[in-house]
Amino acid sequence: MADSVMASDLVKKSFRVNKFPHIWCPGCGHGILMRAVAQAIENKGFDPDKVCIVSGIGCSSRAAGYMNFNTLHTTHGRAIAFATGIKLARPELHVIVITGDGDAAAIGGNHFIHAARRNIGITTIVFNNSIYGMTGGQYSPLTPMYDLATTSPYGNIEQTFDLPRLADAAGATYVARFTSYHVREGIKLIEKALDNKGFSMVEGISQCPTYYGRKNKKGTTVQIMQWMRDSAVDIKKAREMTSEELSGKFVIGEFKNRPALEYCHGYQKIIDRIKDEKRKR
């Protein structure tokens, strides 16, 4: 495997093993995604002292506490706003946000689009399990239409966000999606997201067998992951498919990689210009 360290070494190095067992249910996809993030950081060879993991509130956001970096577990929806402060105050840090679909796209939706618009150097990984897991299965802005949740007992009549398109339109310079089935691809995508100096958004589709899966009769975790395997289409392939062929499928892979001036760099230029003008005077 291309991974630079064995899984068990990675666990010892990148996780706070004394905080295990974690709080997640058996079969939850969040642990798989968390490991993918840790592996990507490891593969990049970042100094762990310079890595910050910032999260909001939710099952997904609990990942931060298990990871052996500078970790900040904030308030619901606000992780990206806290992360903006850290990044701008100390641009040399690698600032990574781990957030849920509710955390990022409902209560935190405004921060999400504005951080993307500023192209500030934050890598945001959205653990999308199509539901509010932590509060017991209410619908989120990413719950598919007509699906069931504890607050949509007759079926959800709201449209979902398409996060990659939202991030792209808002100005993110790197955008990708993977699933908890496609971990190897996911690690590569997160590495590229970490390479991008500006705002990156990687959506990781996760499974919540406890609430979303059970409510919607999606079967066991294995069956949900088989569904991910069979329904995900890589973007390169999807470009050659008709909309009929794509119906019932979803697209994964790299949606956008178009670097642009990062916010903190832009700010530093102002500081340098003022210093320069002062010197000349």
Binding site: N68, G85, N110
Partner: protein, 379 residues
């Protein structure tokens, strides 16, 4: 001598105190704080960012402090309401930062350009849960400078959010001020650990210290910060014992040091007929009334709070007892918020009266004098 408004003096004080990060969202009558910060910070190598809302402004301000920079935000009324959840986060996670709230007339959008002092109880209890609060209120442009420096010092010393409760009167008041080249008080900084990172316990209070040591993210101590109840190591726990201990420690660090935080000014309290308790911009009205009082045939004392929270209760009680004062009038631009506090503190010592306004106007000296006459006549 420079002519400047209170809002600008705040920024100068903040920079003198070492503020190098500001995140906020514009709102009348605090906007000049953000404007001035955006101009001044890059000149000193600091950073300013206008966030998408006040919630984000507060969050980014806390983030800046976690990254090791002294950080500030500024707002008024509606924005102060939006900041509340994250102010509680800073109190719980013990993150030093300064919040300037230039009080305007409410409730809701209210009278955006008019003064008030009606956020004093919100400052104390606005965020949910029991938590400590430090709030200071300046009464002049020069004091806005000094109080902001002090706010940073207290934030760093006690590791918590500190509020500067300006009001529109002081925020927009222009006065000629002489600002010192260098701050006249010692500038305090949070204490960093120097132990082996492996031995670092992020929320353990070292012997002889008031608060835990605080490294910045990136300094080599990889620790966890959370708004959940956490143990000495900074990780969440559901233990009632740990929860009780943590919450009590947060309250006690302020309670036990109330004397250090208290700042107030007592004028003409000896042999006065009535003591007027006031703060912020209203103290200027009360001062004018006090000077005119002898002509009205009575002696009036003034107790001016600079520290609003924790309320300087020992000092107020002592002032009333030592001078055998029987009547205390609280003058403030609200429906009687600090008057309630004074009633509680002085219930065995003096009768407490209130004079206030909630129509967006200020109090005038003759209104204070009339109130005193009324109290003397009927009291």
């Amino acid at each position: 001598m420079r002519l400047m408004m209170g809002n600008e003096a705040c920024v100068e004080g903040a920079i003198a105190a070492g503020m190098r990060f500001f995140a906020g969202y514009p709102i009348t009558p605090s906007t000049e704080v953000a404007e001035k910060a955006s101009e001044r910070l890059p000149e000193v190598g600091g950073k300013f960012i206008q966030m998408e809302d006040e919630i984000a402004g507060m969050a980014a301000c806390i983030g800046g402090s976690i990254a090791g920079q002294k950080s500030m935000t500024a707002t008024s009324g509606p924005g102060f309401s939006l900041k509340m959840e994250n102010i509680g986060y800073a109190a719980m996670a013990e993150i030093p930062c300064v919040i300037i709230n230039v009080m305007r007339s409410g409730p809701s959008t209210g009278l955006p350009t008019s003064p008030s002092q009606a956020d004093v109880m919100q400052a104390r209890w606005g965020t949910h849960g029991d938590h400590p609060t430090i709030a200071l209120a300046p009464s002049s442009v020069r004091e806005a400078y000094d109080v902001t420096i002090r706010a940073f010092n207290l934030a760093e010393k006690y590791r918590m959010p500190v509020m500067v409760l300006m009001d529109e009167i002081i925020g927009h008041l222009r006065e000629g001020v002489d600002l010192p080249e260098k701050p006249e008080v010692e500038i305090l900084d949070r204490k960093n650990p120097d132990c082996d990172p492996a031995d670092f316990r992020a929320y353990e209070v070292p012997e002889g210290d008031i608060v835990p040591l605080m490294p910045g993210f990136g300094d080599g101590y990889r620790y966890n910060i959370t708004g959940l109840i956490h143990d000495d190591t900074g990780f969440p726990t559901n233990s009632n014992i740990v929860a009780g201990k943590l919450c009590e420690r947060l309250m006690k660090k302020i309670e036990d040091n109330a004397d250090d935080i208290a700042q107030y000014e007592i004028t003409d309290a000896e042999n006065c007929d009535v003591l007027v308790l006031t703060y912020g911009g209203t103290a200027r009205t009360v001062t004018a009334a006090r000077k005119a009082a002898p002509d009205s045939g009575f002696r009036m004392g003034m107790f001016r709070c600079v520290t609003i929270w924790p309320f300087p209760e020992e000092a107020l009680r002592a002032c009333v007892r030592d001078n055998n004062i029987k009547h205390v009038i609280v003058a403030e631009l609200n429906y009687g918020q600090i008057a309630l506090e004074a009633e509680r503190i002085l219930k065995n010592d003096a009768k407490v009266w209130h004079i206030g306004k909630i129509d967006g106007d200020i109090l005038y000296p003759n209104e204070i004098l009339n109130k005193i006459s009324e109290v003397i006549k009927h009291g």
